[in-house]
């Protein structure tokens, strides 16, 4: 079973995130980046599948120079090899362009039985890349898996909705996006950290993928951030002092806000 896991390098949610003044794209200067936490679940799931059987896990990222860190983290966790698509022209790409680059890279990697992704990125949180990618690759699109099993030629997932859980079966090869309920990602062991130094990482440009620069980047984007303003600081909360009627006051507050 050969698995390709798509991972994204995102600004650390712990630090103050903002946009560039010049082109309204994500500002990465001075903000530590990391492998999107939501993608760690996909990496973990891939490792579990391969450890239980056989095959290889390839991690794929599209991003600037620093995005190599996301690939490295996945290799430290135990993935076998990495592919980093890095091209100036990609800067500012929207989901449509990103999915195009990912799809071409997955074709070039070849032989993927399963493509895994996280359920969303922790910065853009759009959740659309998995669907677009499946469409581009002509693969069954099996999203939001909170449980995944692979046997023989098919993959079975559980998708938890508000009212019911669905069990979905698809034939392989397939694309599955996983939720943060599916597993508990491992942290790299020291042996993993040492081993990652020797694992192969390929860096490709758009030319390697046969993608034209005009198809990607800020100019090709279907949507664009027009402006941004900082969210105003949160309003001070309301303190209810209990003078024997605390319960009533709480209920009044909640019903005034239409919570109940």
């Amino acid at each position: 079973m050969n698995i390709v896991v798509c991972v994204k390098y995102v600004p650390d949610a712990q630090s103050e995130r903002t946009f560039n003044e010049s082109d309204n794209t994500t500002d990465r200067v001075g903000v530590d980046g990391l492998l999107s936490e939501l993608d760690e679940y996909a990496v973990e799931e891939a490792l579990k599948i391969v450890e239980a059987g056989e095959g290889e896990v390839t991690v794929l990222t599209v991003g600037p120079d620093q995005a190599a860190d996301a690939v490295k983290k996945a290799l430290q966790m135990g993935a076998d090899k990495g592919v980093h698509v890095n091209d100036e022209a990609i800067h500012g790409s929207d989901s449509v362009a990103t999915s195009l680059v990912l799809a071409e890279a997955i074709k070039k990697i070849g032989d993927a039985d399963l493509v895994l992704t996280g359920m969303a990125s922790t910065d853009g949180t759009m959740s659309v890349v998995p669907a677009m990618l499946a469409e581009r690759l002509g693969l069954p699109q099996v999203t939001f898996a909170s449980e995944l099993t692979v046997d023989g030629q098919q993959v079975t997932i559980r998708r938890d909705g508000d009212a019911a859980s669905e069990t979905i079966v698809a034939s392989l090869p397939a694309l599955v996006s996983v939720t943060d309920q599916i597993n508990e990602p491992r942290y790299p062991s020291f042996k993993g950290i040492m081993a990652a130094k020797k694992k192969p990482v390929e860096t490709w440009g758009l030319a390697d993928l046969g993608v034209d620069a005009s198809q990607v980047g800020l100019d090709a984007a279907w949507t664009k951030v027009e402006s941004f303003t900082k969210r105003p600081p949160r309003q001070q909360g309301q303190i209810v002092t209990d003078e024997g009627d605390g319960g009533t006051k709480l209920a009044e507050f909640l019903s005034a806000q239409k919570f109940i």
Binding site: E16, G30, F190, K197
Partner: protein, 400 residues
């Protein structure tokens, strides 16, 4: 240069000087893994362990440490991870930011018990113990201190005598970390001049005559097992002795390893206390405003951050020297002396900022502060390291 490149990176209040720049990606990865492990397996429970004086499932914890690669991490071969000294230091810092007792478990295992066998043991001893100790399946302790001999271990009374091919050990060791839970004890005993003076022995703790009662009533390092070792005619085969070393150099070489970890570890306790005090100061209001806004509080925080930063630079410098193979024992003494002293001062100052909450286990500060009282004493007291530094400065020994 574009304006974008000229933009200054934001300031990190917990790394004001930006010392992180001096670390490699791998070093940061090691640190991040240890932090993740501690966030999950130590921090939620450690205040309770401290309060009860007992770590739940300490063997399970040791195995988790083992699977990360923490145990004997700076040693090569025999299942050890073979990491650098600086990485080992960073790991100690993270562990001790959780609790000095938990860091002690790892230090004693890796730098004292495993190191003694790795450095001075026979191939058979290494094969027998190191792989199992690296995974955390076997726990080790290190018995040097005695009830009547602490700073002056050369005068120890524990004796090893030959009986045919066998060795027989008699004596007592005191204040031995991990003692009651250990599977193997590295015990130092005086074998007499004809057998090379002080010798090290690898003692399986199920050997008849060996017992390790727990030391109770501690008010420091409560999330750590501390024990007495009783050696009552403990009979060992000829190959139980560490063949490669004779004299005090044996135990002192191990202590030097562990002390290096403490140079870093103490800063972990300091960082945790500084962080707790900083957050508390920003939230706690008195006289109508956050206490962080009072100059006296800011003075305390600034001084703490300053000493923390200087200590970290010193630790990192010593780490680089150790990795280059040029670190001298006097330099480790300098590092331990400074960093434990300043770390304790930082914890005490942090405690004042927390006011009454500073004495509560709801916050980590008093726990760190009390723990550091042990760290101040073990692995060579402040006074001993002062004398080492004094001797290095003057050429005159003031020990006796």
């Amino acid at each position: 240069m574009t304006t974008q490149q000229q933009k200054l990176p934001p300031v990190d209040p917990m790394d004001l000087a930006g010392i992180d720049d001096l670390l490699t990606d791998d070093e940061k990865a090691v640190r991040a893994s240890v932090r993740q492990l501690c966030d999950k397996l130590v921090d939620p429970y450690v205040a309770d362990w401290f309060e009860r004086g007992e770590i739940d499932d300490i063997r399970g914890l040791a195995r988790e440490f083992g699977s990360l690669g923490l145990l004997g991490m700076h040693l090569e071969g025999y299942g050890c991870a073979g990491m650098s000294a600086t990485e080992y230091g960073l790991a100690c810092l993270e562990l001790e930011a959780s609790d000095s007792g938990v860091r002690s478990l790892v230090s004693v295992q890796g730098s004292l018990a495993m190191y003694a066998i790795w450095r001075w043991g026979s191939e058979e001893q290494k094969q027998q113990w190191l792989p199992r100790m690296a995974t955390g399946e076997a726990i080790g302790c290190f018995g040097l201190t005695e009830p009547d001999h602490g700073s002056d271990p050369g005068s120890m009374r524990t004796r090893a005598r030959r009986d045919g091919d066998d060795w027989v050990l008699d004596g007592r060791k005191m204040w031995i970390t991990n003692g009651s839970i250990a599977d193997v004890a590295v015990v130092w005993a005086n074998a007499g001049e004809e057998h090379g003076g002080i010798r090290g022995f690898v003692v399986p703790t199920d050997t008849p005559g060996f017992s390790a009662p727990l030391i109770k009533h501690k008010l420091s390092l409560r999330a750590s097992v501390t024990s007495e070792l009783v050696l009552d005619g403990v009979r060992l085969p000829a190959d139980a002795v560490l063949p490669e070393v004779r004299g005090l150099k044996g135990p002192l070489s191990c202590l030097n390893e562990a002390r290096f970890g403490i140079v870093w570890g103490a800063l972990g306790a300091a960082r945790s206390s500084l962080d707790a005090a900083r957050r508390y100061a920003m939230e706690r209001e008195q006289f109508g405003r956050p206490i962080a806004g009072f100059q006296l509080t800011q003075q305390k925080l600034a001084d703490m951050a300053l000493e923390y930063t200087k200590g970290l630079l010193l630790a990192l410098h010593l780490g680089r020297r150790k990795d280059a193979g040029t670190l001298r024992p006097e330099q480790v003494s300098l590092g331990k002396l400074n960093n434990i002293r300043e770390a304790l001062e930082i914890c005490r100052t942090a405690r004042t900022i927390l006011g009454a909450n500073g004495i509560s286990l709801e916050y980590p500060v008093i726990r760190h502060m009390n723990n550091l009282e042990s760290v101040l004493t073990y692995e060579g007291t402040v006074e001993m390291h002062t004398l080492v530094v004094g001797q290095a400065l003057t050429g005159v020994s003031a020990f006796r």
